[in-house]
Point group: C2
Amino acid sequence: MHTKSRTNDRPVAIDRRVARTRALLKQALVELIPERGFAAITVEEICARANVGRSTFYTHYEDKEALRQATMEDHLQKIGRARGSQHEGDQAFAFSLPMFEHALEFGPLHRALIADRRDAIHDQLRDKVRKAVRCELAGRTPDGIPDQIAVEFLTGAFLALLGWWVESGYPLQPVELDDHFQKLATAGLPLTGSEQATSQAHA
Amino acid sequence: MHTKSRTNDRPVAIDRRVARTRALLKQALVELIPERGFAAITVEEICARANVGRSTFYTHYEDKEALRQATMEDHLQKIGRARGSQHEGDQAFAFSLPMFEHALEFGPLHRALIADRRDAIHDQLRDKVRKAVRCELAGRTPDGIPDQIAVEFLTGAFLALLGWWVESGYPLQPVELDDHFQKLATAGLPLTGSEQATSQAHA
DNA sequence: TCTGATTCCAGACATACTGTCCAGTATCAT
DNA sequence: ATGATACTGGACAGTATGTCTGGAATCAGA
């Protein structure tokens, strides 16, 4: 599948029909998800939207799931390639801003494929983020906190922020959001209020 | 449905048969989820496991989803009631430890109904946690960070930690995990390594 | 213990989606 | 131009859904 190499050097371009069909199916899926939610979509619907025969669908993808995987893959690759831009302020975590920026740029697509926490899609992205976090943390976790815990903590926090931001229509600039994320991640919530905790009363 | 009140004061106990049927269905669901995953389970399967006629199922619940909702509701109520135990150390956030402890106590149940991020279940719990966090934060967010952002950040971080802990078989004591959470939440990750950030090279 | 009300059940039904297969047609690369 | 490949619509069996029966079992209350 994928690309086929003829001899051994450059991969030969995919048959135009194949490319066309797959692109149409992916696009149809992306259009449909925000309208009806992934779970409710049927293969027939996707094909109708894409103007592709249902039997054709199954020659390319095993499943509705497989199509989503492929589409998601495309999408994540795009994020990876976008890493080049690199603003690189004086932040502690480099992965977050590019991600936020991508989420803004590919708004509807992102909302459809990634921000939909109600579907299984998120996991793939979560893994990607987890890796980025683990890489950037690289043994610099403070005190007695296990690396894994810090990684999960940050990954969850980041994805929650990202999801909220996308779902509420990008109420901040990417840089602002990233600043908040950086501050919360590195400095925490010192809880500026009068007392520091619930420890006021007893023990 | 639910409970029916005869005149106007105390609600009359539910018909034994109804109670029995619903309990059996809920229990069957909880048993089945870890075995095959919620999405793959069929109504017939649930009924078979519960020894309940399939037609009976539909007189109680509209849907597989409705059953899950109801089961989840039961479960969350249990968490709510457990709030009484209250260890209350000198931590900043009071909601976390009881939650961790409950997750440990109702291990399989919790894993089945809540920790399965791949299903839609999580959202309900997320809302609950969000509320708890927002309540405990109550305007004490530091600096220029919007409340909502702090809330999402913490909610995400907490749920990620909870999910990881449950899925990896409770490798820590609840109190330990909670300590780590508290520390990360209030003090952040000062990044103890040599340099503080990626700012070393340029600009 | 009797009785009317409620709930359970098995089974049948229409509907919908899935995944596979085919033979005919259109499009591709060369 | 031609052989290879991909697309098509339609048919197919299999499975799940949700609704509806009428009769049997179980209930609560007197």
